[in-house]
Symmetry: C2
Subunit: 407 residues, 2 copies
């Protein structure tokens, strides 16, 4: 066996190691998705509980806290399982750092709940705390997607991350709309933020669709019946433009909440479908890579037998022309395959990079112009529309001009 | 100690692990640089030996083979050292696969040399075999640069890779020019390739300069005295345009060879300077990260003592407000630092991605239009000039239009 071949095997083993790490990460992502869903529900209940001065959702909220605590334990177990596997991680330092942020926020959850129970918090402050916690959990999912080295798994993780992010925007829209309808009048000041949440959902679900296969897209479409979409759009119109001209029917508050909740619960089932598909994909890719390693090792053994005479000699060299061609073929094939996987991965990761660029441009505008997130996003979008350019291109220009913005 | 803090430490340890891996890789890169320099010399000597039908460079070539064999052993030892460290590698599979290709080529080196000795090869075939081997070694360096997770080290590796690649183009130019001057007349058919080699050097040294600090740039400028540059440019002109009109002075062959060799040897000293700087940088970054880990651990221990009462209780929660703020500060600071390192890394890696995009576009044109590498590059460059666009943007358009090219 020539010395290059041991590296051929090492490369394959490295690939399997990366896939096994991805399988663990994918399990983590799916458990995080369930925890986020639970926290989104708890956030909504806490909001109503506080807004109603403790008269509504008291019991349901306690039950929901129980569910969330159980889900949190699952997530913590998964975190601990990752820890033991540290050195396999592609961007381990970033992932672990995100996890440290999340664990710190989870450690503070009992105190937060205590303050909700004793009504020591405003509904807005409670919602904001939950939004931050969910954002931290989503950041872990983002790092997981960013760390994937297999194009197919990376695609699935990008789809899942964008779906989860879109679902979170839907949850924030539910809370915002519930406040508007409960107050009995549409607030013009809230409109840009509401619009931002609607557009952000759209953007996330577009990326999700781009990175999903037909079966997932079909499940997504089935989960959003036309009737429900029509109701949602009508309520959005009533709560925004239409509601500016007169008082809103207080009954609409419950209608809005139910409509949004049905929609979000339906999203949860699509998310579970996506997570299951990801799990299957990881299993298949690992089995496939292991089978390829076995077949590679078998070929190498056959080659070694053929080269028996050469192996007996001290010098590494003279191998037969047939052997030479087989080895060269294997080495070249593997190199080409990894190259094309790398190219494909770049394409998938471009979607993640776009998000990073837009987030950074938004952050820069928020800091330099003292804008809210929604206003910074609206400014980017406005420029993109008026210049007929892609949002990410405008964001890149903003970053390139950062010296002029005096951040 | 709250549970998030163990991940804070894990993130830092992960970073140190990555830095240690980078230090190993950097050693490998520097040893590969020395082997490439040796092979470039051997390639030149083999070329003259074959072109002179064995009458010139016979003895020098054998001495050079001895040097190369010793350098090859160093590289093999470094490869073996990497192997044991497999799981730390960021893109291990790709790196190992490149190494497999290189080792296979190195295993074939004794047979290649045998055929040169017995003059069983044309000078062109011998040079082409050495060019392929050097390209394989440079591909290992490229993967090493692509795998760096520390922005400062990544910058140094990008600079070093581009410098090595530029030096290799200079070596190829020496061989091409030597052939032209030895033949006594300029060949119009060789002009595009010559031009390609000159421009490729320029491009590489520009990227190298962009990613180097002032001390390296000064060393580079000092290594190329104006006198030598003037001689080189005059010879280039004589060998190309001027030489098309009449016979070339045969004496110029030696002048050309010496001029190029002085230039390349001077490059080698700059490369050694770069490699030494990279080594120092790795050592400093590791020491720095270790010191930060120690200070982090000390703070955590102090915090743990402060929270002694809380630790004694079963529940993870009530920590003092002061402790709470310290922990949050550490977690947030680390997260921000990694974020900004990631952003910086994206910027550095953009230079590598540009190269990938241009290489892929070139490959696509070569396959779909049946062009040589030089012609494919000339076509991209021509389009960039006539459309006043960056080369990488044209390359991206070519890739985006791949369906239309019928590859």
């Amino acid at each position: 066996m020539t010395s290059g071949l041991s590296f051929l095997v090492a490369a394959r083993q490295c690939e399997i190691g990366e896939l096994e790490h991805l399988a663990l990460t994918s399990e983590l992502v799916s458990v995080i998705g369930r925890l986020i869903h639970g926290l989104q529900k708890e956030r909504g209940m806490s909001n109503v509980y506080l807004a109603s001065r403790g008269s509504r959702f008291g019991g349901q909220r306690l039950a929901q806290i129980g569910d969330c605590t159980a889900l949190e334990q699952h997530v913590r177990v998964r975190f601990a399982a990752l820890d033991t596997d540290a050195h396999r991680a592609r961007n381990g330092a970033r992932l672990f750092s995100r996890i440290a942020v999340v664990l710190h926020a989870l450690d503070g959850l009992p105190a937060l709940r205590q303050r909700v129970t004793t009504q020591a918090l405003s509904p807005e402050a409670s919602t904001a705390a939950f939004v931050r916690l969910v954002a931290g959990l989503l950041a872990v999912v983002f790092e997981a997607a960013d760390s994937a080295t297999d194009p197919a798994i990376s695609r699935a993780l990008v789809a899942l991350f964008n779906f989860m992010q879109g679902k979170e925007f839907a949850g924030q829209e539910r809370a915002l709309g519930a406040g508007v309808f409960a107050s009995g009048h549409a607030d013009a000041g809230l409109q840009p933020h509401w619009q931002h949440l609607i557009e952000s959902q759209q953007r996330c679900f577009e990326v999700f669709s781009d990175f999903s296969d037909a079966s997932v897209r079909a499940a997504w479409i089935d989960s959003q019946p036309a009737e429900a979409r029509a109701t949602l759009e009508r309520l959005r119109r009533l709560g925004s433009v239409a509601g500016l001209n007169g008082p809103l029917d207080a009954e609409l508050s419950q209608t809005w909440y139910d409509c949004c909740t049905d929609r979000i619960d339906a999203m949860q089932s699509v998310e579970a479908f996506l997570a299951e598909q990801l799990r299957t994909l990881c299993r298949q890719r690992i089995e496939q890579a292991r089978a390829e390693l076995r077949s590679q090792q078998a070929t190498l053994q056959a080659l070694a037998r053929e080269a028996g005479a050469a192996d007996a000699a001290e010098a590494p060299a003279p191998i037969t022309p047939h052997l030479e061609r087989s080895v060269l073929g294997m080495v070249q094939e593997q190199s080409r395959r990894l190259q094309s996987m790398g190219d494909e991965l770049e394409t998938v990761r471009a979607a993640l990079n776009e998000r990073k660029v837009i987030e950074r441009a938004k952050g820069l505008l928020m800091a330099s112009r003292k804008l809210s997130e929604a206003d910074a996003y609206a400014m980017l979008r406005q420029t993109a529309m008026s210049q007929n350019r892609k949002l990410v291109d405008v964001a890149e220009s903003v970053l390139a001009m950062s010296d002029y913005l005096g951040a």
